[in-house]
Amino acid sequence: MTSDSGEVVLSPPRTFVYIRKGDNMDILGQLFNALPGSVSQGLIWGIMAIGVYITYRILDVADLTVDGSFATGGVVAVILILNGCNLWLAMLIAFIAGMLTGAITGLLHTLMGIPPILAGILTQLALYSINLKLLGKANQSVNVNQTDLLISLRWVRDLAFRNPLITVGIVLLVMVGILYWFFGTEMGCALRATGANLNMSRAQGINTSFNKVLGIMLSNGLVAFSGAFLAQYQGFADVKMGQGAIVIGLAAVIIGEAVFGKIFKNFALRLIGVALGSIIYYIVVQTVITLGLDANLLKLLSAAIVAIFLAIPYWKKQYMEKHIGRARRG
């Protein structure tokens, strides 16, 4: 999986390593065995999905920066860790690096008038070069035997704090707590208002441009933080590790809402629902791989799932309108 020559290689279908095919285990046994790994990945990507939730649901902007900022988080963390930086400090700096990438997208949109989707694509493309330059090559491993890490997929069965399930789980809950507090403050309310109604926000004295930038920054900070976790978990950072991240994030948001939307009304619970959506996504992915799906088709599958789930509310509305229209005509 590593190419020290610096050439860009496709990263392998990552870290579904707990499947030991030919182990004489039945499929259910394999799945059960893989569960801690799937849940760990789901939790890590859950932080990322909460970032996507902030832009997609709260700000009402589909921000594609995340494909780049996710890798930025992983790259920054790995470089810092290899240089002996304190692990939590490395996480914090990864978060800040992510916020900077978000600031670029935000300014491209608000200062230069570029539509948000295009602004995100531009930043994402630029970040590919930046990540490559930062890392100096396409990917870089951090060996858990030689370097201290916060989490690693090797510890996924340990009964200790370093178990990714515990570390990431606690961090995720703390983040949800902080976000819940923040979105209840005056600043947080202004951010929500900006996403809900631009005209009303400006009429109430809210600087909507500032709030858009702030929201996109916060989102990408979380995304990069998640990338920093994943790089440690899988033991390497790769400039392509964020490819398709937006789709996974959206899938988690949509699955979370579809499954828990009816019972989770509180804001904090809704964020947790998104994280659970991410876990469900990874369990489903693990299942279809165990059942023998070619791992190369994974992204096609993810895209199809997201497309269908995005279409459902639209179809529902069209059906209702047709239906009601018919009833009225009598």
Binding site: F182, G184, M187, R192, A196, N197, A203, G205
Partner: protein, 265 residues
């Protein structure tokens, strides 16, 4: 309180769609003036209001609110001095947020938004009292999402939000036009009451001549980007729709009859 000085605005200048929306408009409002604005479609009523609110910059002229030149201030900074209610009930409130959250946003208009709580228990009690005045039963639905309210309820709430911080000027842009006649009447009554109680300087656009005559202490009529009629005081109180139409024909030199919208009573 409000001074509009020689304001001009042309949309799409230099193109085939060039439209002179405001031609050298000047208007002065004293404190407590309640001015109704009437005119046909494209007369420049909304453009004038939007110039005051800072939705787009003026080409020429100045806008002064209570001695403060706001001509160059962006919309969100001018909001400090202004209360606004829009024609579309969806525009003035955030549908995805609660009634109390919308009010709390309005209560912080013109203030720095910090990391303090977005709404306090003390505020909730105040909002409950304020909502009672509307008489719409909203005081028991503080945590309901605004999207669940009817158009009339939303306009009443927007009005409350607009006047919560005693704006220097209240701008009403046909705020009852999208409502059914009964609700429109109710919202207008609430408007009149709030304006009178707080002695608010108000600029109200309406399509309804009847309302324009009934409410306020001054009436202006606009035509093709100019103010063509300006009636106030006793003279306005005595005004009838027939006289108003006559005044319009005299000053603009054209017939009013073609514009159906303005004739609605």
């Amino acid at each position: 309180m409000l001074d509009i000085k020689n304001v001009e605005k042309t949309f799409n200048p230099g193109t085939i769609n060039e439209k002179k929306a405001l031609c050298d408009i000047s208007l002065h409002l004293d404190k407590g003036d309640f001015v109704t604005v009437i005119g046909g479609n494209g007369a420049g009523k909304s453009t004038m209001l939007n110039m005051v609110a800072g939705v787009y910059p003026v080409d020429h002229g100045r806008v002064v609110i209570d001695g403060i030149d706001v001509t160059r201030l962006p919309e969100y900074k001018r909001a400090k001095y202004l209360g606004r209610v829009f024609q579309d009930p969806m525009t003035g409130t955030a549908a995805d947020m609660q009634i109390e959250e919308n009010l709390a946003l309005a209560a912080r208009r013109g203030k720095r938004r910090t990391l303090r709580p977005g709404i306090t228990a003390k505020e909730r009690a105040e909002y409950r009292e304020l909502l009672k005045i509307l008489g719409l039963g909203l005081e028991n639905r503080l945590t309901a999402k605004v999207g669940l309210l009817s158009g009339g309820q939303r306009q009443a709430l927007t009005l409350l939000m607009a006047t919560l911080m005693s704006p220097k000027v209240l701008l009403l842009d046909e705020h009852t036009a999208a409502l059914d006649p009964k609700t429109a009447k109710k919202v207008l009554e609430i408007t009149d009451e709030i304006v009178a109680r707080n002695n608010l300087t108000t600029l109200m656009i309406t399509h309804n001549m009847h309302d324009a005559i009934q409410y306020g202490n001054r009436l202006i009529m606009m035509h093709e980007g100019r103010i063509v009629v300006d009636v106030r005081g006793e003279e306005k109180k005595q005004l009838t729709i027939e006289q108003l139409l006559q005044l319009f024909e005299q000053s603009s030199g054209s017939k009013f009859g073609s514009d159906k919208a303005i004739l609605s009573k």
